[in-house]
Symmetry: C2
Subunit: 209 residues, 2 copies
Amino acid sequence: MLDLAILGLLQETPMHGYELRKELATKLGTIRAAISYGTLYPTLKRLQATGWITESESDPSMIPPMTSKRGRVVYKITAEGKERFADLIAQAGPETYDDAGFGVHFAFFSRTDQATRLRILEGRRRRIEERREGLRDVLSRAGERLDAYTLELQRHGLDACEREVRWLEELITNERSGRAPATPGSFDIPADPARDASPEVPRPHQDRP
Amino acid sequence: MLDLAILGLLQETPMHGYELRKELATKLGTIRAAISYGTLYPTLKRLQATGWITESESDPSMIPPMTSKRGRVVYKITAEGKERFADLIAQAGPETYDDAGFGVHFAFFSRTDQATRLRILEGRRRRIEERREGLRDVLSRAGERLDAYTLELQRHGLDACEREVRWLEELITNERSGRAPATPGSFDIPADPARDASPEVPRPHQDRP
DNA sequence: GCCCCGATGTATCGGCCCGATACATCGCTA
DNA sequence: TAGCGATGTATCGGGCCGATACATCGGGGC
């Protein structure tokens, strides 16, 4: 799951670990609090060992940093990495529909084709509906078995489920009608950058001045 | 965190692993899907090794089960285990306020004294408020940096945060006024069993007949 | 009478991920 | 000039998960 997120971010621009963590935190802020370094660095090593990413010492944006030993390590995605990302983004297993998995997939929906988007949204909806039914069963037939606080917890959970199902339904409707995820107050979608995971689109990613 | 949940359930009645997992699933259904056996059994072993629970082979409710080798193992809580539970339920660290930790603590609020309940609810509220502020920042100042789908994800997350804060505020108000967690349509709280975690309250926990 | 299947039940293993910790540099302020 | 907070890289122990294996029990189909 983390592989997907890292590959996705590095597809936009090369980065070092610290930066990657921050981007991850804002992009997936709702899903996971902040990825731990104890997870990030080993994962980066693994991705590098497999060949999905490469390590390019001493980047151009290194205006004043680290005068000496152990400068920051900048990672960039490889061609194989891009292929891998395309695979991961397209295929949907059971783990695609749990909270973390769905969040990561959704965060990269602008790089996902519409059929896959629809498939994932519907799978997620089904998952949440099942959870909702489970909670309804507990709440209806378990009147006296559980104490008031536990019941309150279930009620709050059920409410969240119903809310998410409605949200998903709205998204699915929009998706089917070909519209962008436009909630009232949203702005235009900025015209899909890099239509598919095509190699060699010369996107001029700006470094901040 | 799991320790707390297991100790709490075994405080109500002795159980074997399978049953424990099911109870865990219904009681914490909103929090974690279902605890894995790969977690449960090692944890039970650890709790037993520490002395917080004991294993009592061949229970009375064993009407027709397992004629031969490896009958089901029934676990029951020890006096030390009850002490440990009281400690865990009363103290609140940072992990008490994340999703999983809060859920488990909340599920055992009927065994928690009011001061602690209030402390935990307020800590949780603070945590969620921080998350909410983070999301608001991202949404306000990151207009063009993120694509429409990512923004939609943040918006949905922000909505969930605001909703949970309101929920917590309601609970806190109720708590302060000494009322049970009575949402409209809720029933009476069954008269606080075991007022505080006092030792040796001879609570006649019924086994179901 | 027989067999298979799903629920019940216990248990282990590899692997992901986290929190704590350590270490080092840079820019700012007191 | 000393400390402090942000930036940065890295490891370690441990919690928890999914997959897997194995065994028994009750019931339904044939």
